[in-house]
């Protein structure tokens, strides 16, 4: 080893300390496959969809280019059916997000306080919907909610109801299933954000005589605010754009935007209208998420000042 020429040694060290800096071509080569894939199968398709949404009708052989218009968007915003649908979608997203975060926060807090097999058990249960197919959990809920199914039998045994109860195809049932589906995402984000709280801050507060609610209010919640905001945004955008539960649990009785995108896109084949609805959904989700994170930023910054 000592006989190795100095020059070669230095060259080898250089080649490993920042390959990309020395050779930008290599970095480009490393990035190229993913970038090409994203350009051709992510960005271009979305641009084509945007273009399609501005066509009043699909191009045919006789009329290859029907000309651009905002007819599809106008149709969506003038029709009270679609406006109602948009409102239902937002309502569904808001209810699901609220329920999910309210359940996920205490669970995530508990997970950070335990270890070993108990932690694995609780993690398995709460993260199950990520690892098990969504259809499986929807099927489970379907069985539970069926007329004369498990939930109704349990309620009847407790003497709370008699006769058939309508559970499937109701808004609360849909919120419950969507909450179930999206709880893991909130738990994951909140666990990592709660774990990042330095324990000496909590110890210091305890030493200074702060009560548990005070510690939660003044330290834990402000410090996990970014995680809370992130999980709210993620759960909101996922639940607003989900359509499997609305099809299988809501049985299409609760009209939401993704449902009509699905039916216009697959069954009815009215792609321009489906495309316009898709962009309405996309803009809605992005705009609400952005507005929420801006608002929370302002509030939580004030919270930090109070804390200091």
């Amino acid at each position: 080893m000592s006989r190795m020429p100095r020059k070669k040694l230095a060259a080898t060290a250089r080649s490993l300390s920042g390959v990309a800096r020395r050779n930008p071509g290599l970095a480009i080569a490393a990035l190229l496959p993913v970038l090409l894939l994203l350009v051709f199968f992510f960005i271009l398709p979305l641009m084509q969809l945007l273009q399609l949404s501005m066509l009043a009708r699909q191009p045919t052989l006789q009329q290859p280019a029907p000309g651009y218009s905002i007819a599809n968007y106008a149709r969506i915003f003038q029709d009270s059916f679609y406006l109602q649908m948009t409102a239902t979608s937002i309502m569904l997203g808001v209810c699901t997000t609220f329920a999910t975060v309210v359940i996920a926060y205490p669970v995530a807090y508990y997970i950070t306080r335990i270890s070993g097999w108990e932690r694995t058990l609780i993690s398995v249960a709460c993260l199950l919907p990520i690892f098990v197919n969504v259809i499986v959990s929807i099927l489970g809920w379907y069985i539970l909610l069926l007329p004369f199914g498990v939930i109704q039998q349990a309620l009847a045994a407790l003497g709370m109801v008699s006769g058939p109860v309508q559970l499937l195809r109701t808004f609360p049932a849909l919120v419950a299933v969507l909450t179930y589906e999206h709880l893991p995402f909130a738990v994951l984000i909140l666990v990592s954000s709660l774990q990042a709280i330095p324990t000496d801050k909590i110890n210091a507060a305890r030493l200074l005589g702060a009560s548990v609610p005070r510690i939660v209010r003044s330290i834990i919640i402000p410090l996990t605010m970014p995680g809370l905001v992130a999980s709210v945004i993620l759960v909101f955008s996922l639940s607003t754009s989900s359509y499997l539960a609305p099809i299988l649990i809501g049985a299409q009785r609760i009209p939401v935007l993704p449902l009509s995108i699905f039916s216009y896109g697959t069954e009815l084949q009215n792609w321009p209208l489906a495309a316009a609805l898709a962009f309405v959904l996309l803009v809605l989700v992005v705009a609400i998420s952005y507005a929420f994170s801006r608002a929370m930023n302002r509030i939580s910054r004030r919270g930090e000042w109070e804390m200091v």
Partner: protein
């Protein structure tokens, strides 16, 4: 703390209930979905093995997930190195671009891909489905690998170089062992994500080419579902739980799923 504990175990019970309920329903002796089951029999579990359409969809889902996971990890790894170690401008932008497919609602993305594939002649083709799965799995594979690359100890590589190892030796003996767990985690996670995806295959798979989740969805959506669907559901749930426990006890799920250092 006791109140919290009761609440958490209540949530745990509610999370497990919908999955566990598929088991007694699948044991039904009658061809209908009911609880309590009308007579016990393992016939629906056995009928998975004789249901050619279902078996075909399982095989198709397996190959799809395998192809997507292998390619996603293989092309995301160099990306993760370039973004983590490169010193060029626009790294934050590229990182955002690569992870952006997970910000777009999948139903929007799949509609775009359906229209795009129709014009390219890729619709209802297996390769189109693989490409679509790559778009949605790469953000996760990339984030997971980025964590691994970021936590590598650079000093070991420098020592290796100083001691005269060439780049290949350094990669195989020093770098590969350090990112091994990250690679495995990212592969398993990508595989699960792709295997479980319903949306993409629902729009993009051809007639008679359904993947397992789409086949299950279709049988649930049209009336007359037999308990073979709860049976396959329970089997899938068992496999999912096993994979989860293995991942959590060996690698730590939180670290890799959240994708943060």
């Amino acid at each position: 703390m006791l109140g919290l504990r009761i609440f958490v175990y209540l949530v745990v019970a509610l999370m497990l209930l919908p999955i566990l309920i598929t088991f007694p329903v699948a044991l039904n002796a009658m061809p209908r979905i009911s609880f309590p089951p009308a007579g016990l029999s393992p016939r629906w579990f056995l009928s998975i093995l004789s249901d050619q359409v279902l078996l075909g969809s399982i095989v198709r889902s397996f190959w799809l997930a395998l192809a997507a996971a292998i390619v996603a990890v293989a092309i995301s790894l160099p990306c993760a190195f370039a973004i983590q170690r490169g010193k060029f401008r626009g790294r934050e932008f590229l990182e955002m671009l690569i992870t952006s497919p997970r910000m777009i609602p999948q139903i929007v993305l799949v509609l775009a891909l359906l229209v795009y594939f129709e014009s390219l002649g890729l619709a209802e083709k297996f390769v189109g489905l693989v490409l679509a799965h790559l778009v949605i799995t790469i953000p996760f594979a990339f984030r997971t690998l980025l964590v691994s690359v970021a936590t590598m100890d650079r000093r070991l590589e420098w020592s290796s170089a100083v001691l005269g190892a060439n780049a290949l030796q350094t990669f195989l003996r020093i770098m590969a062992p350090q990112i091994k767990t990250g690679l495995i985690a990212s592969f398993i996670f990508t595989f699960i994500l792709s295997f479980n995806n319903v949306t993409l295959a629902l729009f993009l798979s051809g007639i008679g080419q359904r993947t397992l989740p789409v086949e299950m969805f279709t049988r649930m959506n049209v009336a007359g579902m037999t308990p073979v669907i709860p049976a396959i559901s329970f089997v899938l749930a068992l496999v999912g739980v096993m994979l989860f426990v293995i991942l959590d006890r060996t690698i730590g799920v939180y670290r890799y799923l959240v994708g943060r250092e």
